[in-house]
Symmetry: C2
Subunit: 545 residues, 2 copies
């Protein structure tokens, strides 16, 4: 069905006009005029609470955004995703990461999947999960050991990008749930420092290496994998497993495909944390039951996303508020600020999910966009960020919409709650509460250096505690938020052609380096003089003079 | 001397007009028309090489930017800094972090400092350094031990913001230089997870805690300090030292002021990494000689900065290119992309230095700016970022100027250089070389999804290797780059009033929490309904229903 462009939709023009009115309004004014605002612009669910009353919107805005979503056929696009239609059109693939946390097929119903191959593959989710379950139990119980019968105590997960950032966010978030004595390390960067520093204190006989690569050709990962094999040397079968879709390449590398955990081409890299990519290392680190709870949390969010009406649908509202900020208010950079040390790497994962999914310049049909697409996302955990970049958020010339994430209960109760002392977590949460109001309402001062203009938008997300269920739920929130924006804009959030050119030019340089290694000749043919100078300096081993 | 506003300078208008011409020019065109471009738009020094030929400038732009810098009296502003004038006018303070790496007073010449107090304090730099030297040698040699005579093996540095990010960047960069068996951990966040996870595996008898706080009142740091004291319990004198300017408060906390390492109010938090704030923990971790080399590297950059003419002054050129991108091209977000795992936290430190220094809305005289000030900075180490957010940099609708940082030699030589294999470092550097060209020149394709428009600006910084000297040099480069922008814009890069309001509102919530701890009453008087609901949920321990 042909749909008008995003910025030709009739509701787009209405919102554009209305946004002019709201641009002149201050959040102080909006709050003062409407005591019910906090109640109206918030969503209550059993597992998380979203308050977006400090966004520069009103109920009318939200109704108009709902109309825009309707006009953009958001509902049918989500339906197309959950029924396995090939909505990743440029790669002719379905997008079915929701099936990964739905082994019983309750939300992604196999019978609704038209393509027979995809349908069959969706049925394999359960199988892979049960392989992860038995394998992780064998390792944790010590039934399956490393060479010389030593129990496995260290998991080294080798992978980059989508094979790294989501699992790392989850692992960092869930450290208190780790199995006694089990370590999980991630090796992503091809810089040898990453491999050496993550492995040098490990007993290789107690170490299991997981090579994670969808295609098993990712240059960085295969380089690290080869180095890992040289480190482990013998009994490769006991010390190496693979997570991949490429059985032949896994076999050629020397890993027994019995020790391969599959996924499918309808799982995009950055959407793969809930496949074996994340769940295998996490099941080994946290135990299978905890890993399963991550999937349960993600599934809870999936169901909320697929079934909730617009006004109470948290990922949809988050996405539409982003669109409001980007396309109507002109705020193109967003800060993600978890008041939790554990969630500290969610910003890096979100960077990947958002900026790789929606950093696009053409519509699905290939015509260039003439409106802004994906925003830049950055963040550090609160309160650390407050002592760093918040100055700019409060008093800079750019408006940076913020997402605050807070938890009612701490992971580690520390400090005393008395009449004279607050706990660490209470101290943390004073900041979570204070910052949103400071940004929204500002403070007048006769000293212009101390004047805070306010009217800086934010949303606050409150959860009960950081545990496997909520960590999974936040993962799915992040994924759906990005996907919804892509649906609304009409771009493909599931391909990533923008990374290809770098790979091609990288391969060209690799060829020159191999030639140099072989012959000592520095070949700069066809390079521009700047690149020639840089390559020459590098290979000669001295700075340009 | 009264100076016209930045955007009223006559060269500002000339550049503005000229930028319109360059906006229509593609980097491919600029390179094709000028084979000497790489040579002309680069700077050679013995320790680092800057190639900015992929910025969307030409020689004429640079000449105009030089004129702008002259018109803005950049030279005399730098001179005012190095002679200890109170250029942090809003706080009536000198800005003398250059003196910290200049104990002999070669660049910051004591006789040139007018204020007698500041002059005397600058003389104390040497004293504090020699205290650090003797103290670190006593600890490392085992002459000074923890309780029960155990040698100190663990340093826990408790501090946040400026007392954390710079030292952390340096420590991460210099892991291969660590003393055998010495650990350094940073506890910054008030979230109890940070304290617990950084200390739970440490033997407290082998641990030295450094409390780092300029005022010794920073809420997060004092909360963590108190918890640390409860953990260590006895022999506080053997296990606690302080880095602070507030001797009385250090004493009141229970730390012997003999174990206090001072600095001075002319060292701003985010500019304090080369004071005892960074140098004490780093001397303990790396040995004093390595810590001294960090200072030497920073001093080398200081001298380069103070003495080099515009066209060969790397921090000034970096800053002026930022201004070109922000104020003339409209690119307000910058990516910092070190091709080095060790330098991976320089983006977080740079975020602090840039966004806290230059996220300002008024000029020094208090009048509001009517132009853009400080940019947003973000980044992750390459190649990790390539598999994450680079998609948006290559094909998104926002132009994000990039700084690539690369090293000729690796910290850890790993892998073989043969005709068939590249080393890890060669593989890493193929990417450093490839990405800048991919961004600049793009690639035509009939498939619009695979089309790369190019013309995306970047600078490449090449260094010999990551060692204490170069880590220090990059630190100073970061500091001067931010300061120059502040000088040109006419804002105060050395205060941070934008963090105050959050502290005031935080204190208000702390009062409510203490009241709750004492009486069980949830006091929401004076809060807006949204904040009242969030606070109530938190204190009641359940999500709003």
């Amino acid at each position: 069905m042909p749909v008008a462009r995003f910025n030709q939709a009739s509701s787009f023009h209405q919102i554009k006009a209305y946004s002019q009115t709201l641009k002149g309004k201050h959040l102080s004014e909006m709050f003062a005029g409407d005591p019910k605002r906090g109640q109206a612009l918030s969503v209550r669910t059993p597992h998380l609470f979203l308050d977006y009353s400090r966004q520069r919107v009103d109920l009318k805005t939200m109704q108009m955004l709902e109309k825009l979503a309707d006009e953009r056929k958001l509902g049918s696009r989500i339906k197309a995703m959950t029924t396995g239609q090939k909505i990743n059109e440029t790669e002719d693939r379905a997008v079915l990461h929701l099936a990964l946390r739905d082994p019983e097929g309750k939300l992604v119903i196999p019978a609704q999947i038209e393509d027979a191959v995809v349908r069959a593959e969706a049925g394999e989710v359960k199988e892979v999960l049960s392989h992860i379950e038995s394998f992780s139990k064998e390792i944790i119980s010590g039934k399956r050991t490393g060479k010389n019968g030593k129990p496995i105590k260290n998991i080294v997960a080798v992978g980059i990008g989508g094979s790294y950032l989501g699992p790392e966010y989850l692992a960092n978030s869930l450290r208190p749930f780790a199995q006694d004595g089990m370590n999980l390390r991630f090796v992503a960067n091809v810089d040898g420092a990453d491999f050496v520093e993550k492995t040098q204190d490990l007993d290789l006989e107690e170490t299991l290496v997981i090579i994670v690569s969808k295609t098993f050709t990712t240059a960085e990962t295969m380089k690290n994998a080869t180095t890992a094999k040289e480190w482990i040397k013998t009994a490769i079968d006991r010390h190496f497993v693979a997570v991949s879709t490429a059985a032949e390449k896994v076999d050629a590398f020397g890993i027994n495909t019995e020790n391969m955990f599959g996924f499918w081409n309808w799982v995009g890299g950055r959407y793969s944390a809930s496949s074996a990519v994340g769940i295998l290392p996490l099941a080994l680190y946290l135990g299978f039951d905890n890993a399963k709870k991550i999937l349960d949390g993600a599934h809870w969010m999936d169901k909320h996303f697929v079934e909730s009406p617009f006004m109470s649908n948290i990922p949809i509202l988050s996405a539409m508020l982003d669109i409001w900020n980007i396309n109507f208010m002109g705020f193109k950079t967003r800060a993600l600020l978890p008041y939790s040390q554990g969630v500290g790497r969610l910003p890096a994962h979100t960077q990947q999910v958002e900026m790789e999914s929606n950093g696009k310049r053409v519509l699905m049909d290939g015509t260039p966009v003439d409106f802004d697409t994906g925003e830049v996302v950055f963040g550090e955990p609160g309160t650390n960020g407050q002592h760093s970049f918040y100055q700019l958020i409060h008093q800079g010339t750019q408006i940076i919409p913020c997402d605050f994430i807070g938890f009612i209960n701490p992971q580690y109760p520390l400090g005393k709650a008395t009449a004279k002392e607050v706990t660490h977590h209470q101290e943390l949460m004073t900041n979570f509460l204070a910052q949103a109001d400071a940004l929204a309402f500002g403070k007048k001062s006769d000293n212009p250096h101390k004047h805070f203009p306010g009217n800086r938008p934010s949303s606050s997300l409150l959860l009960k505690q950081l545990d496997p269920f909520t960590a999974g739920l936040l993962l799915a929130w992040t994924e759906h938020r990005a996907a919804v924006k892509g649906f609304i804009w009409g771009i493909n959030s599931f391909d990533q052609y923008g990374v290809e050119l770098g790979k091609i030019l990288g391969a060209d340089h690799r060829g020159r380096m191999l030639q140099f290694n072989d012959t000592g000749v520095i070949n700069v043919d066809g390079l521009n003089p700047s690149t020639a100078a840089l390559l020459t300096a590098f290979l000669k081993g001295g700075l340009p003079k």
